[in-house]
Symmetry: C2
Subunit: 384 residues, 2 copies
């Protein structure tokens, strides 16, 4: 949805142009988005995740606390004229769900399963045309710290995407603590940033140069990125210290638990993926549709206050681009004097009805004019 290139000049045109990154969804698109979110939230609800709905904005210090601090630069602030305190529009909902779990629901039994959907607003990067109003629909599993919990969250994401009809989804797993543990032990703090940057860029030459005594290990990690079985095979060949071996074992365990729940799931592993996982403490996952490299969602393990938690956030805007459009409802044009019974009969057959607004409307013509698929005459539907 770009600007209004396809509409003629109009005296409101300049005023009506939206800020970049904000868009109108028109009929069809808006319905598809709403149905997509409803489908995902229904999958979450069926698996015992209970919906919460935090507000669009909070006091700045609450919203950008802890895990939220990573999003400081992406957050719009505004002054509350009532309390004279700074508020912030949420750039993400995970921090809010963690707050609800820690405070409002601190006495609710664990494991606590919560779901949510809503819009977030991010500042964006000038000159980069990306969405600045971002829909989210997600789950958080709070309390347990286990591979089975990790697997439940990822498997439920896969289930939801399946129900949306998105095919060939791929889940890219990473375990940032594994590579970071190796690096922290061997590389002086002052040299780490350059090395991490090289790993981020998958720049083998720079990694060889900056990797010192662990260059070979890191190059092996780089080479391991790819399909899960091959990656685990390569990682298994490494001589890991007792400090980092548990991260590898947890990864193996999570993959095995995930396969037990969803035998066909397509998994890749990237052992040197750190970007965007600032507050994560365990398994991380990025979801892709095989056709595009657009992220459909992401999630991972973190601490909600002091509690272990694991979550996954899907991005309905990306889902909308990846999912087949749901069939639109057939539309039947009906005369003004149609009986209530006939009307509700049409509704229960799945029709949307579009009513005449005058007694003497020419039914077939008006039906055509209004892009209806059917019209009602003499007690029956007629297809156009």
């Amino acid at each position: 949805m770009s600007s209004f290139d396809d509409t003629p000049a109009h005296d409101m045109r300049g005023d009506a142009l939206l800020p970049s990154g904000f868009a109108d969804l028109l009929p069809g698109e808006a319905e598809a988005e709403a149905r997509g979110i409803a489908c995902v939230m229904e999958a979450f609800s069926r698996h015992g995740y209970q919906r919460v709905r935090p507000p669009m904005l909070e006091f700045e210090n609450a919203l950008l606390n802890g895990a939220g601090s990573a999003l400081q630069n992406q957050t719009f602030r505004l002054m509350d004229p009532n309390s004279h305190r700074m508020m912030a529009l949420r750039p993400d909902m995970t921090t809010q769900i963690a707050r609800i779990a820690q405070i409002r629901l601190q006495d609710a039994p664990r494991p606590l399963r919560l779901s949510y959907s809503g819009s977030c607003i991010v500042v964006g990067t000038p000159g980069r045309e990306t969405d600045r109003q971002v829909s989210q629909a997600g789950i958080e599993l709070i309390g347990p710290d286990s591979a089975i919990a990790d697997a439940e969250v990822v498997a439920l994401g896969a289930q939801a995407l399946d129900e949306l009809g998105i095919e060939d989804v791929s889940f890219d797993l990473s375990m940032p603590a594994l590579a970071l543990g190796i690096i922290d032990k061997a590389i002086p703090a002052k040299d780490r940033a350059a090395l991490l940057h090289a790993l981020d860029r998958k720049d083998a030459g720079a990694v060889a140069e900056l990797g010192g005594s662990i260059a070979d290990v890191l190059l092996t990690l780089l080479r391991a990125a790819g399909p899960a079985d091959r990656a685990l095979e390569i990682l298994r060949g490494l001589d890991l210290s007792d400090a980092v071996r548990p991260h590898f074992e947890r990864l193996v365990e999570a993959i095995s638990a995930l396969r037990a729940r969803r035998p066909g799931i397509r998994l890749t592993v990237d052992p040197v993926e750190f970007r965007g996982w600032q507050y994560h403490t365990g398994l991380c996952v990025t979801v892709f549709a095989a056709g595009s490299r657009e992220e459909l969602g992401r999630g991972g393990r973190y601490l909600a206050g002091k509690e272990p938690a694991c979550g996954l956030t899907l991005r309905p805007q990306a889902l909308l681009r990846a999912a087949p459009l749901p069939p639109s409802r057939p539309r039947c044009y009906v005369p003004l004097d149609i009986s209530a019974e006939a009307l509700s009969g049409l509704h229960s057959q799945g029709f949307a009805t579009v009513s005449a607004l005058t007694q003497d409307a020419s039914v077939a013509e008006e039906a055509q004019h209004l892009s209806c698929t059917h019209f009602w005459r003499d007690g029956a539907t007629h297809a156009l």
Copy 2:
């Protein structure tokens, strides 16, 4: 939902308190709100209203244009660092829908039927504890200017409330142009504000004093407020000028069209109701649940640019307080190794399933701990 009086002191407590007028919806409440909005939007869709979804914020001059200017003082502004222009959080969605109809959908056939739902943010009044994040779900019928169009919008609102299970709903109709037309002709401009204020307060003494030559007519209008039939009877007795008589006739016609569509509808008429109808040009309606005097919604006729339009906005937060809580889904605790078939069987019976996260979980105890209604053992559900 007040503050956290029922939770013990906590080191995040001060930070986590939300700004007044903003609230978390917890499990149960959030689900009920989402289901209520879905139910209302489904009723709108079945009657041919197509969903659009404008963004949460726009450039200030677009959002506060025309009809939106009435909401200037209720609007939060924020600077867009990318375009260096002021943006505003929407305090209402009607202006946005009118913009979409005028520009994005200017070539779509009329009558154009649009629906929408989303959150709006208002500044509020310091010291007054009202919602500042306001959910809206509404419809706009754009193009026709007729009593039948007025009636369709109100009748569909009644239908949606019916499907939500809200009983004893009352629709309070007004036609501001009727009384304003009488006043404008007889009262000098400088004296009108005081008179309108007296009418607003329903202060018969002040109206008698300030009403000059039309004091009797205005007192009759005041007295007419009440059930629709009685009100029309009283209004019919007035000697209305040719300039204002059409407003009365339109009111009569709209009521009759509305009764034809929904025979049992409960209607009242208030001929001296002007408040909150700054940009309305015809029939206006306020929706109340008989039990409380809380507004469930409001709407009316206005101009979307130069096009006649008529809309109705329901307030899901008020609906939630008026509607019976939907029955919550039964929850069945299931062992980790339950088969995919058994799981989907439970889902198609309407159960939410809550999975064990360890192999050896004590099923009945855990089910109880997690507030489940059932657990699964030996291939069958057992009620708790």
